[in-house]
């Protein structure tokens, strides 16, 4: 496929179709509505399921229903809608069905605004619903990576029968850049054996997150935790730039990761030994590698578009080996690379 000029929201929507999305359920919210609009046309053209739901609660529970049938299904939203979806996310996690949700984060709290933000990091990685679970959280930093991660998201959701979140932001959703879409995958995809499909010639399949006995529910939780441990073992992803000799290590994900890359390159031009560590999975977090790098760096600077959320995971990983500083912009302000560089020079 040739490279095209693509808008983030439309790119991930189209990529999802090509990776086999069978049913999309959404609700309009800025800054992700172009995805809903793109799918409203394309899913119909491809003879697949598209519904604009009555709310994000409706949308996520439609996703839950479709996920119980073993089809590739997803929703997309932004902060306020993500808050509403948390009910369904918990049930999806508890009943171990595969589903993907894209969150193009915006400024909060409350209605906040519609500018880019990373203020849902805690929400996505640590509290995506009631109960004891973590979704797998992917963090793309470009339109191309966003496209590629849609395929990865569906694959991982199915492999582990788990919830996968794609953590974008308003900037990634709205930006246009040159990227390549994947070819159309064969469709329809075969459905898995565990799904509900009508108990024809077999025992009924029951999909539930309920177990009234503490012993039973503890067993389920232990199984969930074992699965999460397996994900932690196999699915941690990150990118490193100029870390071999870095004295100062920038740590940032998504849009901020890109900005830090510019800051790092400028710093290198000026002779400063700066590197960048960009997590591509926010859960599981690449803590072990950061711990290693901490031993060889003089200081770390975590940059986020929030008041300091991922920095807590960085500090846990570093465990005091080196000072971990923080630079954040709030309320939907995207930091400039010059601001990051100025912070680096203070260290």
């Amino acid at each position: 496929m040739a490279k095209e000029l693509l808008k983030g929201n439309e790119a991930f929507a189209e990529a999802a179709i090509r990776y086999g999305l069978e049913a999309y359920f959404g609700y309009p919210i800025t800054p992700q509505s172009e995805a809903l609009e793109h799918l409203a046309r394309r899913m119909v053209e491809e003879n697949r399921v598209f519904i604009q739901a009555e709310s994000e609660l409706g949308a996520i529970n439609m996703v839950y229903g479709a996920a119980c049938c073993g089809v590739r299904t997803m929703a997309s939203t932004s902060g306020p809608g993500f808050s509403l979806m948390e009910e369904g996310l918990s049930y999806i996690a508890g009943s171990e069905v595969p589903a993907v949700v894209v969150n193009m984060q915006r400024g909060g709290p409350g209605l906040g605004n519609i500018q880019p933000s990373q203020s849902d990091y805690f929400l996505m990685t640590k509290s995506a619903g009631h109960g004891d679970f973590h979704p797998l959280v992917l963090a793309p930093a470009s339109v191309q990576e966003l496209i590629d991660m849609m395929g990865l998201a569906f694959d991982l959701a199915e492999k582990y029968r788990t919830l996968v979140l794609v953590a974008g932001d308003g900037s990634l959703g709205q930006m246009m850049e040159s990227a390549e879409l994947p070819p159309m995958q064969p469709f329809p995809r075969p459905r898995p054996d565990w799904a509900v499909s009508g108990a024809k010639g077999r025992k009924p399949h029951i999909i539930t997150s309920l177990d009234l006995s503490p012993e039973g529910l503890e067993r389920i939780n232990l199984r969930l935790q074992a699965k999460l441990a397996e994900i932690q073992q196999h699915e941690i992803r990150w990118k490193e730039y100029e870390t071999a000799d870095a004295e100062i290590l920038l740590v940032a994900y998504g849009t901020t990761g890109r900005i830090c890359l510019s800051a790092m390159r400028e710093a290198r031009k000026q002779g400063l030994k700066v590197g960048l560590f960009r997590p591509q999975t926010l859960w599981p977090f690449p803590a072990a590698r950061l711990h290693e790098l901490a031993g060889q760096t003089r200081a770390m600077l975590v940059a986020e578009m929030n008041a300091g959320q991922m920095v807590e995971d960085v500090r846990l990983a570093v465990a005091g080996q080196t000072p971990v500083h923080f630079y954040g912009r709030l309320g939907g302000i995207v930091p400039l690379s010059d601001e990051i560089l100025a912070e680096v020079k203070k260290l």
């Binding site: 709310s55 609660l57 529970n61 439609m62 479709a66 996920a67 509900v196 399949h205 999909i207």
Partner: protein, 259 residues
Amino acid sequence: MSAIPETMERIYQYPDSLTRANTHYCPGCTHGVIHRLVAEVLDELGVREQTIGVAPVGCAVLAYNYFNMDFVEAPHGRAPAMATGIKRTNPDKVVFTYQGDGDLAAIGTNEILHAAHRGEHITTIFVNNAIYGMTGGQMAPTTLPGQKTTSSPFGRDPKIAGMPVHISEIMAVIPGVVYATRQATLDLAGINKTRKAIKRAFLAQLQGLGFSIVEVLSTCPTNWNMDPWAAMQWAKENMIPQFPLGDTRVSDEVAALKV
């Protein structure tokens, strides 16, 4: 099982669509009767193996243990949304939700209204016993004026809590609904009529006509603090005047169905 002489015809037996599990329902509750009616109809229509049920949160939360078919368990009130996701990806399957009055008429009003408005080809069995049973007898949206519950200890005061929600009448004005009816499992005649209504509702789905809903007036002897017989009488004397029985919407196509 005792042997039946060859000369006798078996006219009553356990439906294939029910498991042999003992239910957890209280004595005198009619959930068991309504389960059986749904099961009989699914058997009669020969669709057990192509049916997917959606259980609610409430007394019927464990319905999947009693129905012998594929089932999912929805968050409180969201069964119609889940059923939408299931039916749209499985248009050849029979999909139904089984919901109580707290689940459907309070927390789940948005989901049921919009599933109905979209004309989803699903069937909803809506059991109305005017109370939250599972959580211990709190006021429901369908609780009668003056009715005492654990959260309306002085009786439901319409000035504070409003009047009961009439779901079947709301469904009557929704174009996507092809069949809406209110029945009651409070006596044999009502049970027979309810069975017929459930069959009509599933036939409407099988014909791809649109959304169908059967409201069933039921009892809650435990939380009404009555014995089962008194509960039946109380429901007849108090619930039926508030919630009149009968069809509230029957499309021409549904009217033409042979039931």
